[in-house]
């Protein structure tokens, strides 16, 4: 039942925010903040009580073991049920959602002034949808939440977004985002149905059950097509070059809270989807597809980095760096060793913190300068209080400075992937060089150089300062002592590795036999 509440709390909180606007503009903010705080506290409570350290699945027969489970039938005729389950991976990501949700509320404290209640309704419903995605292990339910989180995001960009430069309107960005994700979601639906029908053909029963569908025997060809359906949906969301086009526009036009949610959480649902569904459901096909996926990851690293260097809009720059970082994640996922997968988890968390930090900082810059164009900045170091210092720290995290969680994430991925794909890793390492280039270009253009005008801007107030300090603290904490996090996810990641590598051994046996 706790699991259901985890999903319901944001939705209920959202409705309360909406209605709470009658009692003034501050009411929705406080309600939303309290909602996400409760969400976070419940998750942390589960973290301390639950047992995630044990290698949950030891034997192949008991393939999936959850720390918590909750199930009621929904549409029994088609074998659809509301089936929620929690393991270390989903727990970590839900905790992340709760924390970033609080930050998203806090960073819009002064930014959003119109229709405050409805804004927070959308914000919380996105988060509710995301939590649903992280908890559902019924494929139909998963798809339901996957689509469900798009709609409030669309409104967030379309109604509260900034109109960008060069004729980029927020409506167009929102539409682009919606069409990209909707179209790719459709492919996933087709794949889900294909898998269900394949299972029906085998057993005569309909089921959308994760554990059941995992056992479905598929021919190589069918498995490959179905896997691709899932992959495309997740690739659009991650995003993987060449289907990344929605991301820079959406980020640049979204309000700060939207960017924080997008970069911090929504992108992670894609990596989660790959880890939870694409790899375990289709291990053979994924194994065969791995070289292509890793190449796409490489392309993403370099394409994202080069484009980041060419941007003039701060938020677009950060958006492209996300593409580069997600390239590392993609490589790690398809390397499939435990080390690499644990690196992926760490990287997801680290990137959520650092990207959220950078987006919040650019929001704070915007609130002071009313521009995001770097050509109009420069020389801001001595004029914006603590802002440059924090920027420096998050920029350092973004370029993978050791001591930050981003460094450990990227290095674990590369250490783990090297035995599988040494050349890929060697080339990907040069992504660090380009990361330094774009990160320091940001510093140079925004903060260094001669000041463009006289006078000081407001220093960070207490709310802003505490937000940044807590983010920075977490980045450093997980950079120097990530073990609590890794212990939590080790069982889940070990399971993915087991499924993924078991195939590579058996498939070499198979191909060796004839």
């Amino acid at each position: 039942m706790t699991l259901l509440w985890l999903i319901l709390i944001p939705f209920i909180g959202g409705l309360l925010c909406w209605q709470g606007e009658r009692y003034g503009g501050m009411a929705p903010r406080w309600i939303a903040l309290a909602t996400m705080l409760i969400e976070l506290l419940i998750t942390l409570g589960l973290w301390f009580q639950g047992e995630y350290h044990l290698p949950g699945a030891g034997t192949a027969s008991d393939a999936v073991r959850w720390s918590m489970e909750w199930q009621v039938p929904w549409i029994p005729r088609f074998g659809i049920s509301v089936h929620l389950a929690l393991d270390g991976l989903s727990l970590v990501l839900i905790a992340l959602t709760g924390f970033l949700g609080m930050l998203a509320v806090l960073c819009s404290w002064n930014e959003i002034v119109k229709r405050v209640g409805f804004f927070h309704l959308n914000l919380l419903w996105i988060l509710g949808g995301v939590v649903g995605v992280f908890l559902s292990i019924d494929l139909f339910l998963f798809f339901f939440f996957w689509e469900m989180m798009l709609v409030p995001m669309y409104f967030l960009i379309a109604l509260w977004g900034h109109s960008g430069s060069e004729g980029r309107t927020r409506i167009r960005a929102a539409t682009k985002f919606f069409i990209y994700t909707q179209a790719s979601g459709l492919l996933m639906l087709v794949s889900i149905l294909g898998l269900v029908f394949a299972h029906h053909a085998n057993t005569g029963e309909y089921s959308f059950e994760y554990a059941t569908l995992m056992q479905t025997p598929l021919s190589d060809n069918v498995a490959m097509w179905l896997m691709l359906g899932f992959f495309v949906a997740f690739a659009v969301k991650l995003p993987v070059v060449p289907v990344h086009g929605w991301l820079p526009d959406a980020h640049a036009q979204a309000p700060t809270a939207g960017s924080v949610d997008l970069a911090g959480i929504l992108l992670k649902t894609a990596a989660y989807g790959m880890l939870r569904f694409a790899l375990p459901l289709f291990p053979e096909a994924s194994q065969a597809f791995a070289p292509v996926a890793m190449t796409l990851g490489l392309i993403g690293i370099f394409y994202g980095a080069v484009l980041a260097c060419g941007q003039q809009d701060v938020k677009r720059l950060i958006a492209y760096t996300s593409i580069a970082h997600m390239g590392f994640v993609l490589i790690g996922i398809y390397a499939g060793t435990e080390l690499a997968l644990q690196g992926v988890v760490l990287m997801m968390v680290a990137h959520a913190f650092s990207a959220a930090g950078l987006f919040i900082l650019s929001g704070q810059l915007y609130e002071r300068l009313f521009t995001r164009d770097m050509r109009e900045m420069g020389g801001l170091w001595g004029r914006t209080g603590s802002l440059p210092g924090f920027s420096l720290c998050f920029v350092a995290a973004s370029l993978g400075m050791p001591g930050t969680a981003n460094f450990l994430g990227e290095f674990l991925i590369l250490f783990g992937s090297f035995p599988v794909a040494p050349w890929t890793v060697a080339i990907a390492s040069f992504g660090f060089l380009l990361a330094a280039v774009y990160a320091l270009l940001l510093m140079q253009r925004v903060y260094f150089g001669p000041p463009k005008a006289e006078g000081l801007f407001a220093d960070l107030d207490r709310r802003e300062y505490l937000m940044m300090l807590s983010l920075l603290g977490l980045v450093l904490l997980f950079g120097l002592y990530p073990q609590p996090l890794l212990d939590t996810t080790s069982a889940a990641m070990g399971e993915v590795e087991r499924l993924f590598t078991a195939v590579s051994q058996s498939s070499t046996l198979l191909t060796g036999a004839p």
Partner: protein
């Protein structure tokens, strides 16, 4: 020994206090915090060193916590104190403290100076982790950390855009080296299954035979990292521009400690290099080439800090030369003496620069020796050590050891390079001193020079002056058992004496030639380089052999072209084609909806006719 972590925790505390104060500390309080933290670290280091030497000189391991544990991958936050890290600890905290102290004089009265101490303390913290880390990942943490601090301090005067770009360049070029080092780590972990340095060195000979390609590749990758950090060919171009930072920064980071980290790294990983003799030889060749290249470049600079920068490059070239011959002791010994005399030279230069109202171009200095006696003494003592004046200077003993080891290893070509380099060193050093302190005062800034006063200014110069003499050479790094000694160890026969005499003669000859040339022929020289081939040669050396220009055309411009080409996200544009297509169709079709009845009737009739014709012809 349990106090060891305090050597880096004090500086870290300094950084945290200053940065969390959010600018509420006064400049004076900031200086006190910054200097005190390093002073305390130095005291702890002295205690640790004393304990180590008084005890059995046994290496001490201390694991603070396990950093990450995933399967076999278990790097720790662990420290290892042995003779090598002990030597480095002494240099970093000792010389570091003197430089911090001097900085309190140098930086006084500058706005926002607390930031300076925060960076400097963070640097000491990172550098200590670099040398104390017992595994490659922690070493890498320090390695990148010092790079970041170097970046921040080069760009300290951020309001001049050029300083920011110099910092940018330094970070990017060293990071290129770091990438190679990172790949080296990935490879070594796969091949050897550990990142702990002691285990790596023990396991490498078991897994790899001498000359195995894996050993060669691993050594090359490590070398890549060392070249970037230590500003050796071909990744050396950042160091001269790095002089944009405040002078104490140049003394600490770009002379005494960080740039020598590459030497430390190669020495630390000597077991890998021993398995790859070709790569080890390459280390020596690169050192030789760098020391010559930088020596010539130093001859043609007018900025006193740039002369010292190229000189640093050249001296690190000597250290690489020694490493290449397997003479690790000599390399570390020279690292130490160089830290003393180069820090002295930089601090003296800093004294001159502040006294002359931030004038640092030799063409506008001159004749200062009477007015700035302490700085002059610093320059003379440091310069003598730099050009290895026989018997009385520290530099003589360390450089002599390197040249002797070169002969013992049988590398006559490299020995010759070292001797030519010694001649060049004497020339550019004397040119620097004479150009700055003798002749006539060439600007008002020089004429109105105000000598530095006070203990904070004087003490570091005096202490370093003492250390730059033969007294400094009495400090012998306790490296026995940590590093191999090299081919010529312990052998003090006839051949060694010959090398010593030849080296001394070279150095003295260089000094004599320089005295004649720059005292008697300064104006003549200045005239010669105005035109003709001499002017071109001067320009070429002044540009340090044109590497910057070449790199600009080879890498910077193409990359900028690429970013400009891709700026609008071509892939996205292509994927938007369906959208544009739909848009176009929509526009086209909606144009037919004119609302004119006549047009509708006409097109309807035309369409019907068309269909009829098709039906008739088709039927």
């Amino acid at each position: 020994m349990s106090l060891l972590p305090l050597t880096f925790l004090f500086p870290l505390a300094g950084t945290l206090i200053i940065s969390l104060s959010r600018g509420r500390l006064s400049p004076r309080a900031g200086a006190v915090v910054g200097v005190t933290s390093v002073g305390l670290a130095a005291l702890v280091a002295a205690w640790v060193i004393w304990q180590f030497l008084a005890g059995g000189r046994e290496a001490v391991d201390m694991t603070l916590w396990t950093w990450v544990a995933v399967g076999d991958f278990q790097p720790t936050i662990g420290l290892r104190l042995d003779g090598l890290s002990l030597t480095m600890t002494g240099i970093i905290t000792g010389v570091g403290f003197l430089i911090h102290l001097f900085a309190a004089w140098y930086m006084q009265g500058e706005a926002g100076v607390t930031r300076f101490y925060a960076y400097m303390n963070l640097f000491v913290f990172s550098m200590m982790l670099l040398v104390l880390g017992d595994n490659m990942l922690l070493l890498y943490l320090g390695w990148e950390g010092v790079g970041l601090c170097s970046y921040l301090l080069i760009g300290y005067y951020y309001e001049t855009a050029a300083n920011g770009w110099a910092a940018f360049k330094a970070f990017i070029i060293t990071r290129l080296g770091d990438v190679f080092l990172a790949i080296g780590l990935f490879m070594m972990f796969r091949e050897l299954g550990t990142l702990n340095i002691v285990e790596l060195l023990a396991r490498a000979p078991e897994v790899w035979s001498e000359g195995a390609w894996q050993a060669q590749v691993a050594a090359l990758l490590i070398l890549g990292g060392a070249l970037g950090k230590s500003a050796q060919l071909p990744l050396h171009t950042w160091l001269a521009d790095a002089m944009a930072g405040p002078t104490p920064v140049s003394a600490l980071i770009h002379a005494a400690t960080m740039v020598t980290a590459g030497v430390y790294l190669v020495a630390r990983m000597h077991g890998i290099f021993e398995l790859a003799p070709n790569v080890l030889y390459l280390v020596g060749v690169i050192g030789a080439l760098t020391l010559l290249m930088a020596g010539f470049a130093a001859l043609a600079q007018t900025d006193i800090k740039r002369v010292l920068a190229y000189s640093t490059m050249s001296q690190i070239g000597y250290m690489f030369l020694a490493l290449g011959a397997g003479a690790y002791h000599a390399a570390i010994f020279h690292l130490m003496t160089h830290a003393f005399f180069k820090a002295l030279l930089f601090l003296s230069a800093g004294s001159v620069i502040v006294s002359c109202h931030h004038e640092q171009d030799m063409r506008r200095l001159g004749g200062l020796w009477r007015r700035l006696p302490l700085a002059y003494i610093g320059f003379v003592v440091g310069g003598a050590a730099l050009s290895a004046l026989p018997l009385v200077t520290a530099g003589y003993y360390s450089k002599d050891e390197i040249l002797w080891q070169e002969l013992a290893a049988g590398d006559n070509g490299l020995l010759l390079a070292g001797l030519v380099g010694a001649l060049l060193t004497s020339l550019y050093t004397l040119r620097l001193i004479i150009g700055t302190f003798h002749g006539e005062m060439k600007s008002d800034n020089a004429r109105h020079a105000e000598p530095g006063r006070g203990l904070v200014h004087g003490l570091p110069l005096v202490v370093l002056s003492v250390l730059a003499t033969f007294l400094g050479a009495w400090i012998h790094p306790p490296l026995e058992g940590v590093l191999p000694q090299g081919a010529g160890a312990g052998d003090h026969g006839m051949a060694h004496t010959v090398v010593a005499i030849v080296a001394s003669a070279t150095s003295v000859a260089g000094i004599l030639i320089a005295l004649w040339l720059f005292f008697k022929r300064w104006d003549w020289l200045a005239e010669r380089v105005q035109s003709g081939w001499e002017a071109r040669l001067w320009w070429f050396w002044n540009q340090a052999w044109g590497f910057d220009i070449a790199y600009d055309w080879l890498f910077v411009r193409p990359y900028r072209g690429l970013t400009r080409l891709l700026r609008r996200d071509i892939i996205d544009r292509i994927l938007l084609l369906p959208a544009w297509l739909a848009w176009g169709l929509h526009r086209g079709l909606s144009r037919t909806q004119t609302g004119k009845l006549r047009l509708y009737a006409g097109t309807m009739a035309a369409g019907a006719t068309l269909i009829l014709i098709v039906l008739v012809l088709g039927g």
